[in-house]
């Protein structure tokens, strides 16, 4: 049996091989859909139930799912789309991979129910290119569902018709942004669109569209079977249900753990085996690499839900918990994060395209002992001039780590600049990650 922890509902009863339709039905799968269609439950009642559950978007923004669905126009002739965002590429996040691998039908059933609630005609699941085997497996699962009558025309003899298709990503972080993803499905560069109009009014092919994360869809069948109240009560007010957390970095057992929202961080850390033997916790990025880093003492006093983490000064984001112990050089850590955003900026907005490279080059020179006295002020200034000045949130995602690393670990950056050496480096430390100058593209190496 796969063990996601005692609170698991989305990942309960999985053994690694029982992903097929028959196994899913044995676990009660597609019962919620059957009941909805048999009882002809009005779509508004489905949306009301999801609202009651306080399910919030599991991809990063944490937007209330029921509310998002209610933005879909009811009286709209023609196609409407329900899109699943499985383009999981936020550093630290690896939960959707497990969901698709071990429980793909929960995602399909969630998409069908969402399609029913919003009157959508078809769904696309955009699957991260790096997990090709799961793209093929998802297509198999779709085929199983179609053959059993859960997809296609007049599903289970009802008047509701809905299709689901898989669409492959192929290596672009920006497609995790919902409008970039829609552009990508349309066969273009995945460059985000201006909002408004929001996808609910102008989405895929210009039609009303809702984009939800894989885990969000996977929670929907459980909510419809057990009721919105039951889901809400697993978590906290405004933070319903359980959440999959990907715990990575310096822990004894990196992995995915499903816990009730509101679980203390210390408990989650314990589930992951704690920090590596004999090492003290130093810092944690609680919600994926785009979110602000927090020092150990703040994290240890925080609970894992959207509102608590926001109060502590960061965001729950995608639920990717990156753990760093005392051997971690924060300059090196930020250097690698900044490289990621530079590499993944789509190039559309000048502040992000130019600013992410600038941030990386400055952090890189500080890391390599060539920092200048004015560099920290420069990093602040460049970050401030990216954040809030771009079409999508990638700009903020590049700026937030810089601001937070400087806020909480400024002394390490100052030490690098003043002494041209690292405060934490020693025989015991992990100086390796980050990039050596030799790996820089030639243009970057000259610039840095």
């Amino acid at each position: 049996m796969l063990d996601y922890g005692p609170d698991a509902i989305l990942m309960a009863g999985l053994d690694g091989a029982n992903w097929r339709l028959a196994d899913y039905e044995k676990r009660g799968g597609y019962e919620a859909l059957r009941k909805l269609l048999a009882d002809q439950v009005p779509p508004e009642r489905v949306i009301a139930e999801v609202k009651k559950s306080a399910l919030r978007g599991r991809g990063g923004a944490g937007f209330p799912t029921g509310l998002k669905w209610s933005f879909m126009p009811r009286q709209f002739p023609g196609a409407k789309y329900m899109v699943c965002n499985s383009d999981e590429g936020e550093p630290g996040t690896c939960k959707d991979r497990d969901l698709l691998r071990y429980n793909p039908h929960s995602v399909i059933e969630g998409m069908i129910i969402a399609g029913y609630a919003t009157g959508s005609t078809a769904g696309y699941n955009y699957i991260h290119g790096e997990i090709w085997a799961l793209y093929e497996q998802f297509e198999e699962a779709i085929e199983e569902a179609r053959r059993a009558g859960y997809l296609g025309r007049d599903i289970l003899g009802s008047a509701f018709s809905f299709e689901v298709y898989a669409h492959p990503g192929f290596g672009a972080y920006i497609c995790g942004e919902e409008t970039g993803l829609l552009e990508s499905i349309e066969g273009k560069k995945g460059q985000p669109r201006f909002k408004p109009p929001f996808p609910a009014s102008f989405g895929l092919y210009g039609k009303p569209t809702t984009v939800n994360n894989t885990e969000t869809f996977a929670a929907v069948p459980w909510i419809m079977r057990h009721g919105g109240d039951a889901f809400l009560n697993l978590g906290r007010p405004n933070n319903g249900g359980t959440k999959l957390f990907s715990v990575t970095g310096h822990v004894a057992r990196p992995g995915n753990y499903e816990v009730r929202l509101g679980t203390p961080f210390a408990r989650l850390l314990e589930m992951a085996g704690g920090t590596r033997a004999g090492k003290r916790l130093k810092a944690v990025i609680p919600g994926g690499s785009s979110m602000p880093v927090l020092p150990a003492d703040v994290m240890l006093a925080t609970d894992m839900d959207y509102d608590s983490i926001a109060k502590a000064g960061s965001m729950l984001g995608s639920g990717a918990v990156i753990v760093m112990d005392e051997t971690t050089c924060m300059v090196r850590a930020l250097e690698r994060l900044s490289y990621f955003y530079f590499e993944e900026s789509c190039g559309q907005c000048t502040p992000c395209r130019e600013g992410t490279g600038w941030l990386y080059r400055v952090v890189h020179r500080i890391e390599t002992g060539r920092g200048r006295a004015e560099d920290l002020a420069l990093l602040d200034n460049v970050s401030d001039n990216i954040a809030g000045r771009t079409i999508c949130a990638l700009g903020d995602a590049a700026a937030l780590p810089v601001k937070s690393f400087l806020k909480h670990f400024r002394h390490e950056f100052e030490h690098h600049i003043e002494h041209r050496s690292c405060l934490v480096s020693g025989p015991d430390s992990e100086p390796k990650w980050g990039r050596a100058g030799a790996h820089l593209p030639p243009a970057m190496a000259r610039a840095a």
Binding site: G92, Y124, P168, K189
Partner: protein, 159 residues
């Protein structure tokens, strides 16, 4: 230009989208083309453009935007190692160093025998299972200790 089998696969992708939006299949079509040819030469992309009724430049834009497309010939096996922060904290840089030493190449280089190209990757969404190595974009290998890396290289060499 592409084999009947490849065209059959592309047709299957086209069928997923509304008839007037064949362009939606371009990403999948380029994946299929790359599987067959190993990389995307201009004439391959031109063929895909013609097949989908797109302007060639619109296909080049897509091929150059998504970083798993090979715009130049690569080794028989492209090995991509994720070195992002979470993977790096869990030893992926040691894994990368091991591969570099075993293959005698740096990131972005191909071995003299044309067998292996080594690439540095960004987040693959498998962070807790680091180190992660992707072979030819399609096959993910996780929890790659040095012993498992050696076994993988041996297996690929034998093929």
């Amino acid at each position: 230009m592409l084999s009947p089998e490849s065209l059959r696969r592309i047709d299957r992708e086209i069928a997923k989208y509304p008839a007037e939006h064949k362009q939606s299949a371009v990403m999948a079509a380029l994946i299929v083309a790359q599987d067959e040819k190993g990389w995307l030469a201009t004439e391959t992309m031109d063929f895909v453009a013609q097949y989908l009724g797109m302007a060639p430049v619109a296909v080049y834009e897509v091929a150059s935007f998504y970083n798993m497309y090979n715009l130049e010939p690569a080794g028989q096996y492209k090995l991509t190692v994720c070195t992002c922060l979470p993977c790096g904290l869990q030893g992926s840089l040691d894994a990368a160093d091991h591969l570099k030493a075993r293959l005698g190449v740096d990131f972005g280089e191909t071995t003299a025998d044309g067998r292996f190209t080594l690439k540095e990757g960004e987040c693959m969404g498998a962070c807790a299972m680091a180190p992660v190595v992707l072979v030819n974009n399609k096959k993910m290998h996780d929890y790659m200790s040095n012993a498992k890396l050696d076994a993988l290289l041996d297996e690929l060499r034998k093929r």
